[in-house]
């Protein structure tokens, strides 16, 4: 009985939020948590820096990266359905063209739409003056 | 004198070779004498059987037993070299109860038969699976499908046409 009463006291402290026991839930999707800058989400490829060498392709553990032609140049295409966000493609990129963004809402209805081609991945780095 | 040498001294006939596995003393044991060697090792204080590993080489199959002594804080590695086509070795379940599942797993994945094991069935893969995946000659091309049969047991087949699977 004393043990149960001790437990009841500590749960009551939470109900009344006595002593640094605040509500911590984040009401996703109405509010979101702040992501760390290093967060590994969807890839992004620097349009100017990428040389289409394919090192990311060969180093990908799940072979989820393919180099495809986009316009006049070759760029990686990532199959998110197979990607495990290990970050190797970012690590190995000789030109530092690949990076990972904070986009984590990648659920989709078909497998085909999980293949992110260069049109969705490319971005232009702002040139510092 | 390390543990492998001690074992060699106690059982000069059984231990054919002593060496090192990285930094752990290793004794290669004749496969007929494995049970004796393991019992001797247990006598020497090696009370924990850490892991049983089966490795399939082109010409042979090796079974590696990593032992540890909580008392003396020593490591000992026992190695048995088996025939590639018909790997068979004595089970250590009588000495270590923990060997039960480890041996079943080794049987399941590498295909080594442990004679004297009370229940040598597959553990990770369903009963009826073709081949032992960690053998180098395992057929990676044939797809195998597992369904639940009438009586609730797993049924393995290579015919995946009636599965609800979207390509």
């Amino acid at each position: 009985m004393p043990g149960i009463i001790k437990g009841l006291i500590v749960t009551l402290k939470h109900v009344l939020q006595i002593g640094d026991r605040p509500t911590v839930t984040v009401q996703y999707p109405y509010e979101r948590m702040k992501l760390a800058p290093r967060f590994r989400g969807l890839h992004a490829v620097d349009e100017d820096a990428c040389i289409g060498c394919g090192i990311c392709d060969t180093n990908c553990p799940n072979s989820s990266i393919k180099i495809v032609k986009h316009g006049t140049r070759w760029y990686p295409e990532v199959n998110i359905g197979m990607c495990m966000f290990c970050g190797y493609c970012v690590d190995v990129c000789p030109m530092n063209a690949m990076k990972m963004t904070g986009n984590y809402e990648l659920a989709d209805y078909t497998r085909e739409s999980l293949v992110y081609g260069p049109d969705k991945l490319l971005f232009k780095r702002e040139v510092k003056q | 004198m390390n543990a492998a040498e001690e074992l060699k001294k106690a059982l000069p006939d059984a231990v054919t070779k002593i060496g090192m596995q990285c930094n752990k003393p290793e004794a290669t044991v004749k496969k007929e004498d494995l049970l004796d060697a393991a019992a001797k090792a247990q006598e020497l204080g090696f009370d924990q059987l850490s892991v049983i590993t089966g490795v399939d080489y082109e010409d042979r199959v090796e079974v590696i037993y990593n032992l540890f002594s909580y008392e003396n804080k020593h490591n000992l590695v026992l190695k048995v070299i088996l025939d590639h086509d018909n790997p068979e070795v004595d089970s250590l379940t009588t000495l270590w109860k923990g060997a039960d599942w480890l041996e079943r797993e080794t049987y399941d994945l590498v295909g080594i038969k442990f004679t004297g094991h009370p229940n040598l069935t597959r553990i990770l893969l369903p009963e009826g699976w073709n081949g032992h995946p960690l053998r180098k000659d395992y057929d990676m091309e044939t797809e195998q499908f597992v369904t639940i049969g009438e009586d609730g047991d797993d049924v393995v087949s290579t015919d995946g046409s009636n599965l609800l699977r979207r390509k």
């Binding site: 149960i4 437990g7 009841l8 749960t11 009551l12 939470h14 109900v15 026991r21 605040p22 509500t23 911590v24 839930t25 009401q27 | -």
Partner: protein, 364 residues
């Protein structure tokens, strides 16, 4: 004014319409139709009240759990998620009603109703307030205990008809538990009856009116603390809530006896469970916590204040049950039975003996 029927007639008389309505029926000699209509209205109000209460209770349960666990709980549907139970209901109605292929279909379909009806019937002799009672049965307490004891029949039927080992085990546990806990429950209640000399719930409540020394209310909890404790534990077991929720014990038996139920039939069990929770809390309040008694406030009709007091007390008990649920783990069934038969029943009997002795000796 002793019950809600008379209350309605009194209100109608005060409004000056009762005679008019009565005249409509009198010539044809069908006054009983009027009586019937009033009773039906009463029951409809009760039913609506129970439904709303159950909905509120499910919301409250989730909110209390959330507060204990540093969460918000339902927040999206309605203000602070207040309409969540409505959405749950809509969802459950929309669900497919699955009957297992090898189930006993008639019994399987019957069982949920058998669970829900007793949960409603218990409310009949429950005094919600001064004269707010459907019927003041002279055997009120006995009636309540007897009707509560019907629930395990439904559970057993459900567990057996589902043709599932988990449901069967859940049902068996529920029955074993219920039998061993109805006895201390009744024994604890009898001590109170010994004071009042009546099984009527109204008499029990009115016996608790007034105060000692002008401060301490004359509730039976102060005369019968042990009886109260036994009744509290037994009634939590009776409600089937953690730490005694063996009929469900979701981590062991998946969902216990209603594992196979879905859709509206599942909702029936849900409804019955929460109706039962409220009913048992109300009974506890009636017997030990002074029922609807409370300080009389001038200017406000006693009917209203008494209802407020009753609801306040009942929700306090309900909150305690929810609070306890969030604090303690589940017991094991054999431990529970051990406690029931080896500790609680002897204690209840001892309590009965001592109380009887003291009453005879004239001490209290």
């Amino acid at each position: 004014m002793t019950n809600a029927y008379e209350l309605i007639i009194n209100i109608l008389t005060a409004l000056g319409v009762y005679d008019m309505i009565l005249d409509m029926f009198k010539p044809s000699g069908t006054e009983f139709v009027l009586k019937l209509i009033i009773v039906v209205i009463e029951l409809a109000v009760l039913f609506a009240f129970v439904l709303v209460t159950v909905m509120f209770l499910t919301w409250m349960e989730r909110k209390v759990v959330a507060m204990v666990q540093s969460r918000y709980g339902p927040m999206v549907t309605g203000p602070r998620g207040l309409l969540q139970p409505v959405m749950d209901g809509v969802k459950l109605i929309g669900k497919e009603d699955i009957v297992p292929a090898k189930a006993d279909k008639f019994v399987f379909n019957l069982a949920p109703y058998l669970a829900f009806v007793p949960a409603l019937l218990v409310f009949i002799p429950l005094p919600f307030g001064e004269s707010l009672i459907i019927s003041d049965l002279r055997v009120g307490l006995l009636y309540i205990i007897a009707i509560s004891a019907l629930t395990p029949i439904s559970i057993l039927l459900a567990g057996w008809a589902s043709n599932n080992k988990y449901t069967l085990m859940g049902a068996m546990r529920a029955v074993a538990q219920d039998i061993s806990y109805t006895i201390p429950l009744a024994l604890a209640a009898i001590t109170v009856v010994m004071f009042t000399g009546s099984l009527s719930t109204v008499d029990i409540v009115s016996a608790q009116s007034g105060t000692w020394f002008g401060i301490i209310p004359k509730w039976f909890i102060f005369i019968q603390p042990l009886g109260f404790l036994l009744f509290l534990i037994a009634s939590i077991a009776e409600m089937g809530r953690i730490p005694f929720d063996f009929q469900e014990s979701e981590s062991e038996l998946v969902a216990g006896f209603f594992t196979e139920y879905s859709g509206m039939k599942f909702a029936m069990y849900f409804l019955a469970e929460y109706a039962h929770l409220f009913a048992v809390s109300g009974i506890l309040v009636t017997i030990f916590l002074g029922g609807w008694n409370g300080p009389v406030l001038p200017g406000i009709p006693v009917v209203i204040t008494s209802l407020v007091y009753f609801l306040l007390k009942t929700y306090a008990v309900v909150f305690f049950a929810m609070w306890l649920r969030d604090t303690v783990p589940r017991m094991r069934i054999d431990q529970l039975l051990n406690i029931g038969w080896k500790i609680m029943i002897p204690l209840a009997l001892l309590n009965l003996l001592v109380t009887g002795f003291l009453i005879t000796a004239g001490v209290i």
